[in-house]
């Protein structure tokens, strides 16, 4: 059985957003007890991560790490049509994930207690982001 649904999110600019509850809602609606769930983001300047969810400092530190790894306005980049965060947003997306895939058991996600699903907005301005959730199984 396949159940597929699209979700839309409005981000408030660069940062991580917990989308776990919305994904869980789709899994629950699918009625699938055992199988897998794929979460896919339709953008090249926002991405997905599975990340520690207990201490928000972890995500703040990830943001700090990314800023150092891929500095905004780096003179190496020529693609700056939409500002100094434009090309870094593309690189940050390539270094993280477009899609996440995890098992479903007993009609629920099987993520670890400290694992959370986050949408990572890499642009500094707010954006509307589209995600497709596909649940497959029995």
């Amino acid at each position: 059985m396949v159940h597929q649904q699209q979700l839309r999110f409005s981000t408030s600019g660069r940062g991580t957003f917990n989308i776990g509850p919305q994904v869980d809602e789709v899994i629950s609606q699918s009625g699938i007890q055992q199988g897998m769930c794929q979460v896919f983001i339709h953008h090249t300047s926002a991405s997905l991560i599975l990340c520690e969810n207990a201490d928000p400092d972890v995500r703040t530190d990830l943001e700090t790490f990314m800023k150092r790894l891929v500095p905004d306005g780096d003179s190496m980049f020529i693609h700056q049509d939409e500002g100094p965060d434009d090309m870094p947003a593309h690189v940050r997306t390539v270094l993280t994930q477009n899609a996440l895939s995890f098992p479903i058991n007993n009609g629920r996600d099987t993520l670890g207690v400290w694992q959370g699903i986050y949408l990572w907005e890499h642009r500094t301005n707010p954006h509307k982001r589209k995600i497709t959730v596909t649940v497959m199984g029995e």
Partner: protein, 138 residues
């Protein structure tokens, strides 16, 4: 339903090559309307990535960024049999993706308007690449 095949891609030299159309044709051939599609590259010096197709320069700059992270001037003496670029390329491979997973919606790749699927060939030697595509769904 499962539809799978391994395709041989002709060597084109270093660079990023868009394979979105090839994937779209494969999905159409599968007759699967809703589900997921997994792409897997059987190589450690070529990888897969979803990139921005709005501006040609984003592809080149992702490559430039990766080159800066793992420069080809690094010492490679234990990989001399594969040529001087072997180790840094494999470093970049770890930072990129061996497999991509996308949704299939309405018998098409369910990806964003600005998203393109690329094979990122990093070897300067002439090698044919094997790509396995698996489409699962209804």
């Amino acid at each position: 339903m499962v539809y799978q095949d391994t395709l041989q891609l002709a060597e084109k030299g270093r660079g990023a090559y868009e394979i979105t159309e090839l994937v779209a044709d494969f999905i159409k051939e599968s007759n699967i309307r809703t589900g997921t599609c997994q792409l897997f590259i059987h190589s450690s010096s070529a990888s897969l990535l979803i990139g921005d197709i709005a501006d040609e320069s984003t592809k080149n700059e992702t490559a430039a960024f990766m080159a800066q992270l793992a420069p080809s001037s690094d010492n490679v003496d234990n990989k001399i049999d594969k040529g001087m670029d072997a180790i840094p390329e494999e470093m970049r491979h770890v930072l990129a993706q061996t497999s991509l997973s996308i949704p299939v919606s309405n018998a098409k790749p369910g990806i964003g308007v600005w998203q393109g699927i690329f094979l990122w060939e990093r070897s300067s030697h002439a090698v044919e690449r094997k790509l396995t595509i698996t489409v699962i769904g209804d």
